[in-house]
């Protein structure tokens, strides 16, 4: 199985592994050797072989459940990680929704007082500046109209009416041209 790897481990190292099986090392020595065991596959194989032989010496059944245990624990950790991720993403989604709702609410509250004011009172109220009326040009025409209207009302003659209408039509034409 591991004859080549076994020889890679020094005799001293294997003796320490044997002593470690029996808790025959100082704590410092045990800590260092256990670190080696965790990091060195050949070292672990020696450790495993010694324990397998020990079990065989006692007539115990031989099992190797390490791979199965690790596969089960890996699957559990992957599942736990997935569940945690889903929960986290749900929380993030909820937080994002809550943030968006908060921003909307803040916006509504900020704009709410403005909704009751008249448009002119607002800072952005647009005022249209009309050009000044040409009162001096308009008034003589009104005077002319009223004078002709007064003449028509007092005289009430047909010939004058026609003339007045014609004259008014001319005036109106002039007004349109203005």
């Amino acid at each position: 199985m591991n004859s080549m790897k076994m020889t890679e481990q020094s005799t001293e190292q294997r003796e320490r592994l044997s002593a470690l099986m029996d808790d025959g090392l100082t704590e410092l020595q045990a800590r260092q050797l256990l670190r080696d065991l965790q990091e060195s596959e050949p070292c672990r194989e020696v450790w495993q072989a010694y324990h397998a032989n020990q079990a065989a010496l006692h007539g115990a059944p031989q099992v190797d459940v390490l791979a199965g245990v690790n596969a089960a624990l890996d699957a559990e950790e992957a599942k736990a990680s997935y569940v945690s991720e889903v929960r986290h993403s749900r929380w993030i989604g909820f937080a994002q929704g809550a943030l968006a709702a908060g921003v909307c609410l803040a916006g509504i509250l900020a704009l709410w007082p403005l909704a009751g004011q008249s448009p002119q009172s607002g800072p952005d109220t647009v005022t249209t500046q009309l050009p000044p009326a040409d009162a001096t040009a308009y008034l003589p025409r009104m005077d002319s109209y009223w004078s002709r209207h007064a003449q028509f009302a007092t005289v009430r003659t047909g010939g004058r009416w026609d003339e007045t209408e014609r004259s008014h039509g001319d005036d109106h034409g002039q007004e349109s041209s203005l």
């Binding site: 072989a49 010694y50 065989a56 010496l57 059944p61 031989q62 390490l66 245990v69």
Partner: protein, 224 residues
């Protein structure tokens, strides 16, 4: 396999056990477990791999005693470690890690059998201090016919072939649970020598196993 050799192995083990007075179980703190548990709790998944490698055979042995079925043993062992990993963040170290793991395994085994409408093969195993099945399953029978039985025979033969001083040091450690200091007292040797003997015994057994895996079974059988 040579049955005579197996019987010889068992005799060697049992006679050695009778000859040496059982010393107190190891009182060494489970430094290895404590360090690994702390690392797992700190988020180092790789540290849990070492706990699995360290205890999977013992947990399998416990599950075997409940079910006597190889597939059940694998399922229960795997499930026990998965549950242990999930619960490890709450483990405060009030008891030894293995004792805690043992209780988890018993619950998993009972639930596993209950889900299938079955009853435990035995109920007389609620003793976390007994970490291994009865000494050496060398007799043919259901308990010896699990996966790894052939490896067990190779290892046990290799153990029987060890030089006396190495075999005795390893036996005291593995079957009597003696600490290095206790073995040093019993064998009247320095602790460093005990550590070296136990290592050399394990290394010799492992070389035999590697040779067996490489297809040298025939050569071993011929020598037997």
């Amino acid at each position: 396999m040579n049955p005579a050799a197996v019987t010889h192995t068992a005799d060697l083990v049992n006679s050695a056990a009778d000859a040496a007075a059982p010393a107190a179980a190891s009182e060494a703190p489970a430094v290895t477990d404590r360090i690994l548990v702390a690392r797992v709790q700190a988020g180092e998944r790789r540290a849990f791999d070492l706990l699995v490698l360290r205890y999977q055979q013992r947990i399998a042995a416990l599950a075997w005693r409940y079910t006597q079925n190889s597939q059940d043993v694998s399922d229960i062992t795997q499930e026990a470690f998965i549950r242990a990993y999930r619960a490890l963040r709450d483990f405060r170290g009030d008891s030894e890690f293995y004792t805690w793991l043992y209780r988890i395994t018993v619950n998993v085994a009972k639930n596993h059998l209950a889900a299938q409408g079955r009853r435990p093969f035995t109920t007389d195993i609620d003793d976390p201090t007994q970490v291994w099945p009865d000494r050496m399953q060398v007799e043919p029978g259901p308990a010896a016919e699990h996966e790894g039985s052939e490896l067990a025979r190779v290892v046990q033969r290799a153990f029987a072939d060890l030089p006396e001083d190495l075999r005795e040091a390893l036996r005291l450690r593995e079957f009597e649970g003696c600490s290095y200091e206790a073995i040093a007292d019993l064998m009247e040797t320095p602790v460093g020598t005990v550590r070296s003997r136990i290592f050399r015994a394990r290394d010799a057994i492992d070389r035999r196993v590697q040779a067996w895996r490489a297809g040298e079974t025939v050569a071993l059988d011929e020598r037997d």
